[in-house]
Symmetry: C2
Subunit: 339 residues, 2 copies
């Protein structure tokens, strides 16, 4: 019988996670029960929000306990099915273990059809990150043509799609990211109007040039200093969609920053936190439109692929070090191909 490897939380990270926080545990491949299927992982997704599940205490995502198997969005193949809707060989996605194999309640899986695209797009531009960008721009920011929209972590899985959807809405789009390669990517390949490399520019000063008419919409993936700088440029009735705060995820305590509520009174701006999960009844709408845009070439995307399940923790930690351009995934299939 084949062995199965899966990652468990070895200990709660202190600050930025490292290798010692993760244990790769070997065991038997699990057996699917009634109405369950066994899925062999092809790609798994690492996402910043997972850091929040590693800490004790309340969050919007239930915290993992030490010893718990880590889970996230996975694309894989059905290798055994006890459910009439799925056959062996079907490609599915769901929230599954960071593992070679996982058993899943078939009702929590969705069939994946990505046409000529690699199945991993179901974890990125056509998955949760793409839908997050879609609802954040379409529903939360809801910009008018001609508006200036700023997005942080602009070259990431969510930010890169945010900027392109805002461009499709006729906006001037400014992206903030942490390397020249990322700025080149968003301006030259994705068509953003301007990019600011926060690692070598004062963001507030750079925004005065890049957004000369001020900021009407801000899609915030990062929080912290970068967000403080953008707040200095908010226009009257500006809208801020708070999606993530990656700059703060590794902080154990609440951090201090300049108070922003006075700015909101001056500008009558609104700030709204949102979670893509709240839009579940409209996922089909988002997926359909994103797929059309990708097919038409209106939305381009990149993936950064780490090879091998054993490298999932490094890929995850890399998110906080700004290593990925586009969606960071881990390719797992190569592991069992040789087994």
């Amino acid at each position: 019988m084949a062995t199965n490897r899966q990652f468990v939380l070895a200990q709660r990270p202190d600050g930025v996670p490292d290798d010692e926080d993760f244990d790769l545990v070997e065991g038997d491949v699990p057996e699917p029960g009634p109405r369950e299927v066994l899925v062999r992982t092809r790609y798994l997704s690492v996402d910043p929000y997972m850091r929040d599940r590693m800490r004790e205490g309340e969050s919007y995502a239930e915290p993992w306990d030490v010893g718990d198997v880590l889970r996230g969005a996975v694309v894989g193949d059905v290798v055994e099915s006890n459910h009439p809707d799925y056959d062996e060989g079907d490609t599915v996605t769901g929230n599954l273990a960071w593992a070679d194999y996982a058993v899943a309640d078939a009702d929590n899986l969705v069939a994946v059809e990505t046409g000529e695209l690699r199945e991993s797009v179901a974890l990125g531009v056509l998955g949760m990150p793409g839908r997050t960008a879609y609802f954040g721009v379409t529903d939360v920011l809801d910009p008018d043509p001609g508006d200036t929209v700023v997005v942080s972590a602009a070259a990431g899985a969510v930010g890169s799609v945010v900027g392109q959807i805002a461009k499709l809405n006729g906006c001037r789009v400014v992206g903030i990211a942490g390397s020249d390669a990322k700025i080149e990517y968003i301006t030259d390949e994705l068509g953003f109007d301007a990019g600011i490399n926060y690692s070598d520019r004062n963001v507030a000063e750079a925004l005065a040039e890049a957004a000369p008419d001020g900021v009407d919409g801000y899609f915030d993936n990062v929080g912290g200093d970068i967000t403080d700088a953008v707040f200095e440029h908010l226009n009257v009735r500006a809208s801020v969609a708070v999606c993530g705060q990656i700059a703060l995820y590794n902080e154990e305590d609440v951090t201090m920053g300049p108070r922003k509520l006075p700015t909101l009174v001056e500008t009558r701006a609104s700030v709204e936190g949102f979670l893509v999960g709240d839009y579940a009844p409209r996922f089909e709408e988002a997926s359909r439109r994103l797929a059309q845009w990708v097919q038409n070439g209106d939305i381009e995307f990149r993936e950064t692929v780490a090879d091998g399940l054993e490298n999932a923790p490094d890929a995850f930690v890399g998110l906080f070090e700004g290593e990925n351009i586009g969606k960071q995934v881990v390719r797992v299939e190569s592991e069992f191909d040789s087994s």
Copy 2:
């Protein structure tokens, strides 16, 4: 000829304003030009937002220069009219000088009819503060029956009306204020469900008792520590209306506080700054409804009256020391009654 006294800004305040920042200047009573009227002040309004006009630099209200006459909402009588719409003896309200007499463009005045109520209500419950409460609750917070609504500066001109409108909407209402007398007023007289005296309670702890189901709507008049405490109790999809930040108005620099955007992601709450002036097209609706509520006894109100124009600066400074219950006005008419 009668003399006229008016206040000018003597110097920009450093921190909390004091007497030296104001000069009472005597001169002739001005002559109204074509289509203008001369108004003799009965009551003038002092409001926290005026502090912002005393500082240099941009704000939503145009800054006053040193030497400028201070202005604000005034109720007074027309004593000379060059405009067909106004006769001598009419009572009017408008944005006029802190003075015994002021000349006004008649187009910027509104006739005041307060029935059996003292004319000063046009500066309070039936004026800008009442309308601020109305739009802040009705449009920005828009609470459902059963929601818990918290308001800071709860015994003030705006807060006291906010809480009563929220009660009319079927909400549980918790007020935060700075003295036992204020807490007694809002709970015993105005019908708030609970009150927290921030001067002798830890607000975050007290809210756990006073708002056991969390906070669905927060009307913020103060900012700073009190607002930080309320943010710890925001429910999923909570709404925050940012009306004023009186705790911060006397700070010259941006102050630091705990970062709140992570809370917004967790709760998917929204925070919106608003200014009553943006609702000008709907002032009549607000005035009509507020007048009905006052007439029915659904909304009660108090005023704190300072006597004599010369006491306007003290009344203004008192706002920042929490001296007033209900609307703080200055009665000016007694001055000329004896002249």
